[in-house]
């Protein structure tokens, strides 16, 4: 990837921006679905109970913190692997 010219990098950047938007939206709807699945289990009424609502709030918090932490570790590992040259196929 480091062997791309500047023009090529710009083109790549362009293509990536569309994907990032898509990934962000996917992350968002995945969060909604997960917290819905985990927190909403009764259907005696058509509105969220206060118990369900606060579960959803904590779920969003906890999952976002989890993803952040995982993202940091993921990048660290990637960097470590790139440096030690253990990336196979290279």
């Amino acid at each position: 990837m480091d062997s791309l010219t500047q023009a090529e990098q710009r083109e790549l950047q362009n293509r990536m921006e569309k994907k990032q938007m898509k990934e962000f939206m996917n992350m968002y709807s995945n969060l909604v679905q997960q917290c819905f699945n985990d927190c909403v289990n009764g259907f005696e009424s058509k509105s969220l109970t206060s118990r369900e609502e606060s579960c959803v709030m904590r779920c969003v918090d906890k999952r976002m913190k989890g993803s952040e932490r995982l993202g940091t570790r993921f990048q660290e590992q990637n960097a470590a692997m790139a440096q030690s040259g253990t990336l196979p196929g290279r």
């Binding site: 968002y28 709807s29 969060l31 909604v32 699945n37 289990n41 259907f43 969220l48």
Partner: protein
């Protein structure tokens, strides 16, 4: 479900179409997830009858309602946090 898209001014024609496309994609992704979640929560998989019974029907209706409410709560929460962090509007969750 078009809450991710702030009112950015002065878009080119291609950008406007792409944004509308993204809104529709988001909506149909949400729809697919709702179908999956609510079917799982409400439909009896022994399939003893081909019709939805009363309990399943009511469950599906309430499930949609609750799913929208969760979506709304999550989006409000994320907007609130984005504003607390970033300040002005116009961003991802900017009003």
């Amino acid at each position: 479900m078009s809450f991710l898209f702030g009112g950015k001014p002065q878009l080119s024609s291609e950008q406007k179409i792409a944004q509308a496309e993204a809104e529709i994609d988001m909506m149909s992704d949400m729809y697919a997830r709702l179908i999956s979640s609510c079917s799982k929560k409400c439909i009896d998989t022994s399939y003893r009858e081909a019709d939805l019974n009363k309990g399943e029907s009511v469950c599906l209706d309430r499930c949609v309602s609750k799913f929208f409410e969760v979506n709304l709560k999550v989006s409000e929460k994320m907007q609130g946090e984005a504003q607390a962090r970033g300040g002005g509007g116009g961003g991802m969750f900017g009003a």
